[in-house]
């Protein structure tokens, strides 16, 4: 019995890896907030967007993974080789700025989720930051990946809390496949936000780098493709349960706007302590996880694109810029959370703008590169797949730019 269990766990860990991790981190503090908001305010209505989001994610992630496996190079490497240093440089500057604010948002998630458990942020944030830092600086690739994979397992807490709330499953099922558009500007904005937060530039860079680091080659790419698809599906399932939990707990009682994700967790309280604790615990896990991955992925991407030594298997003096950048992102990202009166919301909105402006470039470069025979050899997109890819990219860019517009309006307001 135990042997069988061990075997199943071994199979699970051998299949999942970079693609799975990337998709899961997509449900970070910001993502959880958006989905909670969707469920709390509009109940089951927005569920139908999840399937198209999943399709968009799969298409973009699949291309990224394929580029990594075939070329053995990171996305920032390829962008530099094909589009030059200046383009890469400005892209890296934007990436650092966007990811830094993202790290802030996630440390804010760590702080507020643990405050639900009565832990002061002046304790939780420094300790969280230290754990994240030690994990990467003192660990190696294999141990870090194992811990990340364990963190992905904890997302299950959202599924359980969603079940505990006893939502209306029939309605959830119906609205998952029934597109509903109501001409309420807030509703439209929300739908766009759901799509806009689902594909972020850093994911493409992280996924490709992780595929390369893992040593996936064109030959065993098929397994990675499956893993990417499974990751995107699981990510969608978790988003589904977050929306359903908030719909069942908050919307059925009284539809309302929520302030932040902890507000959503508190809304689950009438349905039992477990539902509430699991939701809050899930937020903590997701935030800490993203606070770890984002600085790491940023340091990787920047060093790769600009040609500095990088990698968790290198020591500090071998890859100084890599480690300094990583450290700085954590220290600044966590530090500002402790400053009273720091305009966090404005920073997060700003990060959404930077991400949104950068995304078109990243996606267009990606599709251009993935179609270059000199780079991808026999692994370029087929014409049909290209149709799908360009449609996905154009949709994504269009919606993101609308979101940027809305965010800019909010920023001025």
């Amino acid at each position: 019995m135990f042997q069988r269990l061990k075997y199943h766990i071994a199979v699970f860990f051998s299949v999942i890896g970079p693609g799975f991790i990337t998709a899961m981190v997509d449900n970070d503090a910001g993502g959880i907030f958006t989905y909670s908001q969707a469920g709390a305010k509009y109940g089951y209505l927005p569920l139908w967007t999840l399937l198209p989001i999943m399709a968009l994610l799969i298409v973009t992630q699949e291309m990224t993974a394929r580029m990594g496996a075939v070329t053995g190079k990171g996305l920032s490497d390829l962008i530099r080789e094909e589009f030059g240093l200046r383009t890469t440089f400005f892209m890296m500057v934007a990436l650092v700025a966007a990811n830094l604010t993202n790290v802030m948002a996630n440390f804010a998630g760590v702080a507020s989720s643990l405050e639900l458990f009565g832990v002061s942020r002046y304790i939780s944030v420094p300790i969280g930051a230290l754990i994240v830092w030690l994990l990467v600086v003192k660990g190696n690739y294999a141990s870090v990946e194992r811990i990340f994979l364990f963190a992905t397992l904890l997302y299950v807490s959202y599924i359980i809390s969603g079940v505990l709330v006893k939502p209306d499953w029939k309605e959830a099922a119906i609205y998952s496949v029934t597109p509903v558009l109501i001409f309420d500007p807030a509703y439209i904005t929300l739908l766009i936000a759901m799509v806009g937060t689902s594909v972020a530039p850093w994911m493409q860079f992280y996924l490709q780098a992780a595929i390369v680091e893992k040593g996936v080659t064109a030959k065993d790419y098929i397994e990675s493709r499956i893993e990417v698809i499974v990751g995107c599906v699981v990510m969608t399932v978790i988003a589904f349960f977050i929306i359903v939990a908030c719909a069942g707990a908050i919307w059925t009682v009284a539809p309302r706007d929520i302030k932040d994700s902890t507000d959503a967790a508190l809304g689950l309280k009438p349905f039992g302590d477990y539902a509430y604790l699991l939701f809050a615990g899930g937020l903590f896990n997701a935030s800490l996880f993203a606070a770890c991955i984002l600085p790491l992925s940023t340091a990787y991407t920047v060093c790769e694109g600009l040609g500095f030594e990088s990698g968790v298997n290198k020591r500090w003096n071998e890859a100084p810029i890599f480690y300094w950048l990583f450290t700085l992102l954590i220290v600044v990202g966590g530090g500002v959370i402790l400053i009273p009166g720091f305009p966090l919301v404005r920073m997060i909105l700003l990060s959404q703008v930077i991400n949104g402006v950068m995304l078109p470039f990243v996606l267009i470069f990606m599709v251009l590169i993935v179609n270059r025979k000199s780079i991808m050899r026999d692994w370029t997109n087929s014409p049909a797949y290209n149709g799908v890819a360009w449609t996905a990219v154009v949709t994504m860019i269009g919606l993101t730019l609308v979101l940027v517009g809305i965010t800019l309006r909010d920023l001025w307001a």
């Binding site: 053995g72 080789e81 240093l85 064109a218 600009l306 030594e309």
Partner: protein, 414 residues
Amino acid sequence: MPLINHLFFTELLGLRVYDLKGRELGRIRDAALVPLVDAIRVDRFLLGGGPAWLTVRYDQVDRINLNGLWLRDELLTPYHRDEYMLRIGRDLLDQQIIDVDGRKVVRVSDVTFNLDNSLGYDELRIVEVDIGLRSMFRRVTQGLLPRPLIRRLMMPIPPNSINWQVCNIVESDPQRRLHLNISHDRLEHLHPADLADIVEALGPEDREAIFESIDSEMAADTLSEISPEIQSSILESLDEDKAADIIEEMSPDEAADVLGDLDQDTYEAILEEMENEPKAEVRELLEHREDSAGRLMTTEYITLPTGSTVGDAIAAIAANAEIIDNLNTLFLIDAEERLTGAVPLARLFTVAGSEPLAGLQAERLLSVLVTEKQDRITEIFDKYNLLTLPVLDKQKRLVGVIHADDIIALLRSL
């Protein structure tokens, strides 16, 4: 205009070109070496401006400075055939090259030329490729700020460059390697472990290119240092006969290790191409279960009859010079090839040549069966602090030896 003795490629790009009457003809879009003629001199300047690019040969140039390039011969030819040209902007800038001295893969940000006037007119010669922050600053500001200002602003940033003499370009097209006179000879002087790190940092095509062109022995040593996934992808991409040549250079246990990771068709095809003797040995090793002693052991070791003397032992070592690097124990066997004793090599030096080996045996003779599980073997190595462990078949005959470095590699791969 102050005289300058060096010029960066970023400064050369966009530089205006003037004819004999001082009229502007266009701007420089790229520059190229023709390595078969001269390995370091910039041979052609590619000039844009009109509908087609023109080429300026090095001997048509009068002088070059930060303000422009003046010609002394204005009979320019259109630019087309370039298979012999290494174009700096297209083929070098932002691409990966190998820094043989620093033993790592780097990405080129800029190139530094020496501006030489010893012949009475200006020539550019490549001195260094630049990789650091200073060259990045030049790239980002290039064309946006005046050249002298960039030079002044970059001074506080420490330079980071690699001498052109120790740069190795990686080119995956064999035809072009020939045209551009690129060889990977310099890589053969690296330590195999360093070359392995370099190869791992490159993309699949460049890896293949290196393994195709370096000699089989170096390729074998390097391949055994590379991580298993990349090993397989390299072997699968090579021609079978080249792969077989490399495998033949490995010790049988390493060869079995490497081949065991490939899929059946590929390794059968490679084995087919191998010579008979190593082929048989490797095949035999491949028969053993993947996690057994049989897959870990090497079949290269020295045995002597039980009654031999120290003098016999030294003669046997001399006759097996090719495995001397990894030798620390001699084994004694009886007439049926059964293991009777093990003699640590260092003990040979403590006695005269006529002494019998039997008196120098290790007190405890440890061995394992060929079917023993690998995790059990690592335990034995750890417990008894071993350097070598003999492996026996069911009839107690010696069939192989496991070395401590096999154990280290095994543990590292977990």
